[in-house]
């Protein structure tokens, strides 16, 4: 997580470049989502699984027929939508964090090795990437989720297996640039081993890029989880997920449009937050922009 977001705090005097506004905005959004996920039991007004058929398909409370106790209304089983949205942030953020970090670890490792050592290693990794890029990513994720069976870990594995190439491609080309730098040449003349140079010299220099990509990938992971839930291949439909709510909402969109609209809004907010943070991080961490 980035700096604790305090937009009102005065920037350090010398900074003619104040903290990037996008970074702050993104961090505020993501920070809020993390708090919601952590304190879900305290915030949620109802049990997200509690059914009350007397109160089914209630519209949001500000519309005609709404109940004050159900701010965003209820679904066809009478479950409180606000509480389900709140609890669903837990699944979304868990998937986002674990999947993005794993994809980053695997993809960056392969990208570093291919970019630095070249030759047969690069050939092998590049061919693998080429085969992967020939798959439609969504279809590959759906097939994988079907292969692995329902469950949170399957969703995570599916995202990692599909998206490691995003990291491998970028890190590989960035490492090829770094390899030609003078600091790498001097490290080599000192007789340091390739693995040591990669770990201690090259990795810190490509790390800002990886961090930026992780932030964007977390947004992508949230969408992929929603997609798999939508197709019915994520975790069981009882436990609330944004994608599962979208799938339910799509089926009864004419009767209860809010059931579709609210989880979409939640995902859009989360994805925009991660993208803003990624953009902000890129500028904050890039020495050219930072000056």
């Amino acid at each position: 997580m980035a700096e604790p977001a305090t937009p009102a705090a005065p920037a350090p005097r010398r900074a003619s470049h104040p903290i990037d506004a996008r970074l702050v905005a993104g961090a505020v959004v993501i920070g809020a989502l993390v708090l919601v996920a952590l304190f879900a039991p305290l915030i949620a007004p109802h049990d997200p699984l509690e059914q009350d058929l007397l109160y089914s398909m209630l519209p949001p409370s500000w519309q005609a027929g709404g109940e004050p106790g159900y701010l965003f209304g209820t679904d066809s089983l009478g479950r409180d939508i606000l509480s389900r949205l709140i609890y669903a942030t837990r699944v979304a953020l868990t998937v986002a964090l674990i999947a993005a970090l794993l994809a980053a670890a695997i993809g960056s490792l392969l990208g570093l090795l291919a970019g630095y050592f070249g030759g047969a290693v690069d050939q092998a990794v590049s061919r693998l990437i080429e085969v992967w890029m020939a798959f439609p990513p969504v279809l590959l994720a759906i097939v994988l989720a079907a292969v692995l069976g329902a469950g949170l870990s399957s969703v995570i594995v599916a995202i990692v297996v599909v998206d490691w190439t995003r990291f491998a491609r970028v890190v590989r080309s960035e490492t090829m640039v770094e390899r030609e730098m003078e600091y790498v040449a001097s490290a080599r003349t000192l007789g340091l081993s390739g693995v040591f140079i990669l770990w201690k010299e090259v990795l810190p220099n490509v790390a800002p890029l990886i961090i930026t990509l992780v932030s964007v990938e977390m947004g992508i992971a949230i969408v992929v989880e929603a997609i798999l839930s939508f197709v019915g291949l994520s975790i069981s439909t009882d436990f609330p997920t944004w994608g599962g709510m979208i799938a339910e909402g799509r089926q009864v969109v004419y009767q209860t449009p809010w059931l579709l609209g609210l989880p979409i809004a939640a995902i859009v907010v989360a994805v925009l937050g991660f993208n803003l943070m990624g953009d902000g991080l890129r500028h904050a961490l890039d020495p050219v922009h930072r000056r």
Partner: protein, 335 residues
């Protein structure tokens, strides 16, 4: 990309396809869920089940199954769909035109929208116009096609119902087609009212597919326009008294097109891959929608065939883009 590099790319196509085929084949053999169990009527005897399994070759080892599949592929046969009991090749050929028409419309929208945004942003550089364009690009690029599709369904299908939200054609419409390219056929034969109905069904899914790509085109093209506009030839044209608009359109745009095509190529394959889900959301009858059904039904031959079709499409697109870049750039034309 010179001629030798292009040739090398061509030589890499068969191994890539074989790689895709192997990955998908092995992946699908570990699928839990028996495709045969899904198609037998209740009360079928064990012998019946075994006979059915043998008929689809599912009783043999993975290696033998793969060899048989590759042998069939070499003769142009993709096998028989388990859930639909039809030839996979003809199933795909029947649905592919719908997907291709959707992709073509989406591409057209993405290019027009992206170019327009880039030109507006470049024209109003360092003014409110550019900030507005940057803001639009930032939002549009962050939201994936899947969400755009759902947002459109909600807004233009339900809250303000102006467009149909499912299917390719109004089922009540009494029209007969001789090909599967409905839109092309309707336009060629001059059935404009039919074409309008088809387009009204395609507009939302195509726009959903197009938006993310259009934002990326706009971002890359706008940056390339800035570079091109500061180049000698553009400065020269400006010094000779051509208007800002003329310099942008006649000098900067053709030169900025090359990096834009190169850098947006990968994104274009994402647009094509996005059809899987967008067709699902809009119940549009292309191969993407069929792919999701195939996965749900554990229809192994059909999944294999569709994945392979997409792989061929993706590789073809990447090659076409490389050729297009060579064609656009006069310096690369002589290999």
């Amino acid at each position: 990309m010179g001629r030798t590099a292009l040739l090398r790319r061509l030589l890499l196509v068969p191994p890539t396809l074989v790689g895709v085929a192997i990955v998908v084949f092995v992946l699908l053999r570990v699928v839990p869920g028996d495709p045969i169990a899904m198609m037998i009527p209740p009360g079928a005897s064990t012998e019946d089940i075994d006979r059915l399994r043998a008929a689809y070759g599912l009783d043999q080892s993975i290696a033998v199954q793969m060899l048989a599949w590759f042998r069939d592929l070499a003769t142009g046969h993709l096998g028989t769909s388990i859930s639909l009991r039809q030839n996979v090749g003809s199933l795909i050929l029947g649905r592919l035109p719908a997907t291709l028409e959707l992709v073509a419309l989406a591409t057209l929208i993405a290019i027009v929208l992206g170019t327009a945004l880039a030109l507006i942003g470049a024209f109003y550089r360092r003014r409110a116009g550019e900030w507005a364009v940057d803001g639009i690009i930032g939002i549009v690029v962050a939201i994936p096609d899947f969400l755009w599709g759902l947002i459109f369904i909600l807004v233009f299908g339900v809250l303000y119902p102006v467009l149909p939200i499912s299917g390719r054609l109004d089922p009540r419409l009494p029209v007969e087609f001789t090909t599967q390219f409905y839109l092309v056929e309707a336009l060629v034969t001059g059935q404009l009212s039919v074409a309008r109905v088809l387009l009204s069904h395609m507009l939302m899914p195509a726009l959903a597919l197009a938006l993310p790509l259009s934002a990326i085109i706009a971002r890359v093209l706008k940056a390339s326009l800035a570079v091109a506009e500061s180049a000698d030839y553009a400065q020269m044209a400006k010094a000779r008294g051509f208007s800002r608009r003329a310099v942008l359109l006649n000098e900067a745009l053709p030169n900025a097109a090359i990096p834009t095509v190169t850098l947006t190529g990968v994104q274009f394959t994402f647009l094509v891959g996005g059809t899987v889900l967008i067709e699902r959301i809009f119940s549009y009858e292309g191969i993407g929608n069929m792919a999701v059904d195939a996965v749900i039904n554990r229809d192994l031959p059909l999944i294999q065939g569709i994945v392979l079709t997409f792989a061929v499409l993706f590789i073809a697109i990447n090659l076409l883009i490389d050729i297009l870049v060579t064609f656009l750039n006069p310096r690369l034309r002589r290999g």
